[in-house]
């Protein structure tokens, strides 16, 4: 029952998000339609007198090709059509700049983005949880103090600065890693060693930066572990002779993880935004890079499509996190109303 409710909620959120985006894109003043229209009007005004009805019609037609929106159509009809195309036909419109369907462009780029961001996020989360636990178990030691400083410093440095610096050091100066692209152009795609090495080499620096971007939970997890270790049931468990490892993982770790959960969720929501910045810096042709180029070319249908895909992926990620959360916290699967998630 909980799962059904949760999935339903995600679908609802998706439609609300879609509507909000559509409204931003379409209904607010000086959105893309108005911008393009004003520009075209100005040009026609320069050439001569006020636009005749035919000229208006041609302007509207040009607006339509530029933004994928017919300005003469009322918004609710275009909203309905947009929704219908996406839900029924997975049709996000056509890219103006590339002249191909938006869905195809994004679908090609998506796996590469997922590859980088999921590796980065998974690595960052795992390592920061492990470090947090280690710090808690060695509370007050030199390791604890040192790692606290490292975690603090990490949170003052934005990930893109790490990206830029690692690019300058490892790629421009030492030339250990390539500075752009996602695979070695001299290799053939497939399951052969040179190709895989090329892919790994190209992904190394972006994954490193994504790893550093998602390396935030260590201090919070440390605090939770320490608090959990002071609880009475841990002492009882020790007295009952339960092994250290089991206490550390099943008792302390599991309970300390619960409050961190929000952070992990928000991490999922933020990776796609940061991928736009990262992939652009590394010239890594995936979702973020495509989106950035679309932004620069004012390719509005592609921007909309990319944003919707980002939202869908985020929702799926959060949904998976939420559904597997029952494994960590058995209370959830009973459908209890959690106060804070």
């Amino acid at each position: 029952m909980y799962y059904v409710k949760r999935i339903g909620q995600s679908i609802l959120v998706f439609f609300i998000a879609l509507t909000v985006t559509f409204a931003l894109y379409r209904l607010l003043p000086f959105g893309p339609t108005d911008m393009v229209k004003v520009q075209l009007m100005k040009e026609s005004l320069k050439q001569g007198a006020s636009p005749t009805p035919q000229q208006m019609a041609s302007i509207n037609a040009m607006v339509e090709t530029y933004t994928g929106i017919d300005p003469t159509q009322p918004w609710y009809i275009s909203y309905y059509e947009y929704l219908r195309d996406i839900v029924l036909y997975q049709d996000f419109g056509r890219s103006i700049f590339k002249g191909r369907p938006v869905f195809d462009i994004l679908f090609e780029a998506m796996p590469w983005s997922l590859f980088i961001s999921i590796y980065g996020l998974a690595l960052g989360t795992t390592v920061s949880l492990l470090l947090g636990a280690l710090m808690a178990y060695n509370e007050g030691s030199a390791f604890d103090t040192g790692m606290t400083v490292v975690a603090l410093v990490n949170s003052t440095i934005p990930y893109y600065i790490v990206a830029i610096l690692s690019l300058i050091v490892f790629s421009f100066n030492l030339e250990w890693f390539p500075s752009g692209g996602r695979m070695d152009p001299n290799t053939t795609a497939g399951l052969n060693l040179p190709f895989i090495v090329g892919v790994v080499e190209h992904a190394a620096l972006p994954v490193l930066s994504a790893f550093i971007a998602s390396f935030g939970g260590a201090l919070a997890f440390r605090g939770n572990c320490i608090r959990e270790m002071g609880e009475g049931y841990i002492r009882v468990a020790r007295l009952r002779g339960i092994s250290q490892g089991r206490i550390a993982i099943r008792y302390v770790g599991r309970n300390a993880l619960l409050p961190i959960y929000t952070n992990i969720m928000v991490g999922i929501a933020s990776i796609f935004g940061s991928s736009i910045i990262l992939e652009t810096i590394f010239n890594y042709p995936a979702m973020g890079f495509v989106t950035f180029n679309a932004l620069m070319n004012r390719d509005y249908p592609l921007i909309m499509g990319a944003f919707i895909i980002f939202t869908i992926l985020t929702l799926i990620g959060i949904l998976i996190a939420d559904l597997t959360y029952g494994v960590i916290d058995p209370r959830v699967s009973k459908g209890g109303d959690r106060e804070a998630y």
Partner: protein, 351 residues
């Protein structure tokens, strides 16, 4: 506890007053609830000193005993001065005012060196600060006030307003925030730093609203909130006095955190030139340096590194200040100091 109506002569009552048999006589039902105790009204001076102790002295002691708070405050004050006074002291940078690629700390006409256009980097840095400050102020204020208001109202009122507000919060929380900000920024091309700040503030508030709501849910069940309600204080007073004052640690910490996020995001977006270049900005400087300098030559790198160092310094300031403020607003800690300041013992606090 002894029943009050059975009180006989001279015996101290548990509430601190005395029943004097020669006095106004036995207490009847009416005076029981209206009679005031004999405790003297504090004079205006006493009240002032009490207020001073509670609101200035005790927080001040905690604040200045914490090196993180002091360091953070010093760093941020430095930036504030740079953005207000510094703009008048340091001349505005001009193209070719000095030689190309002066290394920092070598020529004192250009303390931080120059870039490829011969513009003083110090001048650029200083003249970029006011816009950065405006952006931070707008973004952090928007996200903190929105988060606080939505969180408290949802938590305190509950019911329908709670579920509506939390649905909205969840929607914004699940929309990829930075991606939305980037899309908005590129569609509307904001130029005013305040508006840039507001757009960047959009994706910061839902988390705060969620945390604050869960805090409010537990605070409103506490005894002191309950008693305020029974005393018939207005909802607004309860919200302000009981809830917001207890939430101040979260609010201050989040103010610092969202300021840091606004800096990070704005610099990133200016660096990628997604936001239009209108004013000087550290991100714009980084963009120009990244594209203009030969990045394999160490003697040109300072152009790129100096804005980076500034960003790191500012966010360090905000983080340290947030951690320090966390202690200042920590009610338990402050209460200990307040007592200490009265009994003249040193409340030195090392956690």
């Amino acid at each position: 506890m002894k029943p009050t109506d059975g009180a006989d002569g001279g015996e101290p009552r548990p509430d601190g007053g005395t029943n004097n048999p020669d006095g106004p006589g036995p207490i009847d039902e009416a005076t029981l609830f209206t009679q005031l105790s004999d405790v003297p009204e504090p004079t205006a001076a006493e009240r002032l000193s009490e207020w001073f102790n509670r609101h200035v002295y005790a927080p001040g002691v905690v604040f200045f005993s914490d090196w993180r708070a002091v360091t953070g405050a010093v760093i941020l004050t430095g930036f504030l001065l740079m953005g207000t006074v510094g703009v008048y002291v340091v001349p505005e940078p001009r193209v070719m005012e000095g030689p190309i690629f002066v290394m920092p700390f070598t020529n004192w006409d250009y303390p931080l060196g120059t870039g490829v256009m011969g513009k003083s980097i110090l001048g650029q840095v200083v003249h970029a600060t006011p816009a950065m400050l405006k952006m931070i102020a707008a973004g952090a204020l928007l996200s903190v006030s929105l988060g606080t208001v939505i969180g408290t109202v949802a938590g305190y009122r509950g019911g329908l307003s709670d579920s509506i507000l939390m649905t909205v919060t969840d929607v914004v929380l699940t929309i990829p925030g930075l991606a939305l900000v980037i899309v908005l920024a590129s569609i509307y091309q904001p130029e005013d730093p305040f508006i840039v700040g507001l757009i960047l503030g959009i994706d910061n508030w839902p988390r705060l609203a969620r945390t604050i709501r869960s805090q409010v849910l537990s605070i409103r069940e506490e005894a002191f909130t309950e008693s305020s309600r029974i005393m018939g204080l207005s909802e607004l007073t309860i919200l302000r006095k009981d809830l917001i004052s207890n939430l101040m640690p979260y609010i201050s910490v989040n103010f610092a955190n969202s300021s840091r996020k606004v800096i990070f995001e704005s610099v990133g977006l200016y660096f990628l030139s997604i936001l239009p270049f209108t004013t000087l900005n550290w991100g714009v400087m980084m963009n120009e340096a990244y594209n203009g300098a030969n990045l394999t030559r160490p003697e040109e790198l300072h152009w790129l590194l100096i804005p980076m160092v500034l960003i790191i310094l500012v966010s360090l300031g905000f983080i340290l200040l947030a951690q320090g403020l966390d202690r200042v607003f920590n009610v338990r800690l402050r209460a200990r100091h307040e007592n200490a300041s009265r009994s003249e013992t040193d409340g030195g606090e090392r956690a």
